[in-house]
């Protein structure tokens, strides 16, 4: 068991030609996921990638692991069955914002609620790609698309907020092009026991190009994002002179260290392990352009996992039978029976 499993990124690449549009953020995510998974000390055959429908959902075809490209929105439900049937498998769910938050929203919240031990990778590009550019549940009011020529009147979901509301025991945000950050987040999710939810901000170069650039682009990211580190104050900025402070009415504000007597002691200190999700929820309200966009792990708490709970019931029920299944004859003969003589 202690053998180190030597895998490289290439070992996890399948022989299928990758068919995303050139320049799509999915390429970087694929590379990052392959690199991260290669270091997990998990045998390739124990990895299962399960997806729904959409651009992102083609992901399993490109992974040289077990893979299941299911139907629109349903990957969390399929993955729940797979993990319950074999808890030794490492299950990864991949899907976009339309797949997971619109048609599959119900399954997403319930897999989070149950805390099945698997990882959800939500590729959020705030648009429907595969159906050619309609607004999605994360697009937001005003978004002009082919299906909303006068601007969308659909308010957006905030994915981290939704996940936390559903009881996510692990919720994190990362960015397609931030290779190291992406890999570190994936590894942290892998180590977490329970449902890990990772929102990956992903650029759709064709239908929503640059949607996140003003916040996460190379040149602006130090000033427009804030890294959440457990136990550390929320400090950001190229000069690391800005911080996030909490007001009395439980709203957040950006302050500058050294100005008006503000010191590090005044800042919010991140507590990812807090029992209640209140702080994480508050941080999830931070949105561009008013606030820096938080990245990293919002919440990570320990809770019983669903598949382990189910297995425990099976084990308990079998304890009376020497740890095995009782005979079928004993099953059939329960309740009142009577004999008819020949």
């Amino acid at each position: 068991m202690n053998d180190i499993i030597q895998l490289t990124r290439k070992d996890l690449a399948s022989d299928q030609e990758v068919r995303w549009c050139p320049g799509c953020g999915d390429y970087a995510i694929l590379k990052g996921v392959q690199s991260a998974l290669a270091t997990l000390n998990v045998p390739r055959e124990n990895m299962v990638v399960i997806s729904g429908i959409g651009c992102a959902a083609r992901f399993p075809y490109y992974m040289n692991t077990y893979g299941f490209h299911t139907i629109h929105g349903r990957s969390p439900a399929v993955a729940t069955g797979t993990k319950m049937a074999n808890p030794d498998l490492h299950v990864w769910i991949v899907g976009g914002d339309g797949d997971m938050m619109s048609i599959g929203g119900n399954h997403l919240i319930h897999v989070l609620r149950r805390n099945v031990d698997l990882t959800v990778l939500l590729f959020n590009n705030r648009i429907y790609g595969l159906t050619k550019g309609q607004f999605s549940p994360t697009s937001g009011v005003g978004k002009k698309t082919k299906s909303s020529p006068m601007g969308s009147i659909d308010p957006a979901f905030e994915p981290i907020s939704l996940a936390l509301g559903a009881g996510a025991t692990f919720a994190a945000r990362t960015v397609d092009l931030w290779g190291k950050h992406l890999q570190a987040t994936i590894k942290a999710a892998h180590e977490h026991k329970g449902t890990s939810f990772i929102e990956i901000l992903q650029n759709c170069i064709i239908f929503n190009d640059g949607a996140f650039d003003p916040a996460v682009g190379k040149k602006v990211k130090s000033d427009k994002t804030v890294e959440l580190v457990h136990g550390e104050p929320l400090i950001f900025g190229a000069e690391r002179d800005k911080g996030v402070r909490i007001r009395k009415d439980l709203t957040l504000e950006v302050v500058t260290l050294g100005e008006n007597g503000v010191t590090e002691d005044d800042l919010v200190v991140h507590n990812a392990h807090a029992e209640l999700p209140g702080l994480a929820q508050l941080l999830a309200t931070m949105e561009y352009p008013d606030m820096p966009v938080p990245v990293g792990i919002f919440r990570q708490v320990s809770r019983p996992t669903y598949e382990v709970g189910m297995d425990a019931q099976v084990t308990q029920a079998q304890a009376a039978h020497g740890g095995d299944k009782p005979s079928l004859t004993s099953l059939w003969n329960q309740g009142d029976t009577w004999d008819v003589a020949p």
Binding site: P43, P60, Y61, M63, R74, P76, H110, P326
Partner: protein, 608 residues
Amino acid sequence: MQTVESVVVRFAGDSGDGVQVTGTQFTNTAALVGNDIATLPDYPAEIRAPAGTLFGVSGFQIQFGATDIRTPGDISDALVAFNPAALKVNLSRLRKGGLILVNVDAFSSRNLTKAGWEHNPLEDDTLAAWQVVKVNMTRLTREALKESPLKTKDKDRAKNLFALGMVYFLYDRPLEHTVNWLNSKFAKLPNVAEANIKALKTGYYYAETAEIFRATYQVPEAPIAAGRYRNVTGNLTTAMGLVSAAQNAGLDLFLGSYPITPASDVLHNLASMRAHGVRTLQAEDEIAAVCAAIGASYAGQLGVCSTSGPGLALKGEAIGLALMVELPMVVVDVQRGGPSTGLPTKTEQSDFNIALFGRNGDSPLPVIAAKSPADCFDAAYEAARITIKYRTPVILMTDGYLANGSEPWKIPNEADLAPIESDFRTDPEGFQPYMRDEATLARPWVKPGTPGLEHRVGGLEKQHLTGNVSYDPMNHHRMCELRRDKVDLVRQEMPPLEVIGEQSGDVLVIGWGSTYGAIRSGVDAALADGVKVGAVHLRWINPLPPDLGEIIARFDKVLVPEMNLGQLIKVIRGEFLVDAKGLNKVQGMPLNVGEVKQAILDLQYGEA
């Protein structure tokens, strides 16, 4: 005391009158004394419908006899009515001259009005055609329990046992079984147990002492094949059949299910079978339930989902996925009255079309139907055997009548069950995900976790053998044919059809599902009237048995009775180009023996 061959009794009252419990106790006692039985619980969709109303009437009908009992009976010999509404609703289903046992205390002017009686039928000649036995059940029960510490309200609830005691006397039944049951059910509430037993015994002795019945009856034991028996409902045998198949195949069973009437007992029963390696997911919705079952089959367990019509409609896309990725799965459809929400607690066979055709694309599946509550065991076992062997989902059709109706089940021997091989592929040598077994066209079943066999599956069209995504036109045509041919190959599993009655002649009756008992008895009755009639009952409704066409050719006319407006009949007409006639009934009630007989006579001699 008169000896009779068979009797039909119907208990009816408010949902809160304990009608179902009373009926079940009467049934179990009948089974234990050696009668053959068939039952029909018939209850409203509302859990506690307003008391005294017509729509709130709950009924339980049992036929028990000294002969082979195949149906709960067309018409009852005795009606136990706990209130005026129960009398009103059930009078038309009571044989003229039959017995009415009523609780006079419930015939208040308020209850009479609620039930729509303008005059009290117990006081005029409305019931002149029947023998009416009026008993103050509530008052006598209170009287019997005057020493009991229970509150009056709780005492009144024992009146169903008082009534049961009277009926036990009427049919010469022992009290012992129900006494034992009450003692164990209320082991922690000795006062309740004692009161109920007292009510039961008082009812029995009251009937005896007061000589309230003109005659009493004895129904001797039925000639039943030797063996050990248990009284079962179809939802129980369905669960046991599935678990038995999984266990014999060396598999654990996974059930994904969303609560739905009348299928929920399949979920309840399986949830109580954890020791047999059963994992159940009460899913967030119908779609999640089927998808989780697919995920479990993908991981190497027997995935099952149980539902009723509205749920089957929701599951269509996912069932298509399972057939595309060619994994085993049993979909149990406990049919109820449709369309839409329809009649949740009533029975129907109207999901035939959706089971056969309710998916996008060319997507045939094997569909198997159970014919009686006990037969659900065999049908479920066979459904699981075939899905595991052929790696395509199988739909198992039962219905509300089979699900809740009961009959004695001869407990099988483990050695009698067909062996099932789950046969997982582990050898990487020459492996291709969509290579096929020659005899079954099944593709390999590979558990994730197997080294060297990593591969991808999904709902996009697959290239033959490699399983890679393929948009090639000829490949798609070929794959559609392969999936169809695989389902057609299930024909090789079917034993020759049994033709009941005449082997050739005037009329062939073709049925499926829960109409079996009524068809069988209706055919017997028509034979006795001189019609040369035969009947086949279809175990598989897709694909159709290979010898059906040849059997049809031996008869002049074909009759297809169904509890729908004509669904199987269209397939029979289409497949065999025969001018089949339908007997169709969608009233939420099983077919009657008399209706089947009459339809045969009408077809043969022309309508009277």
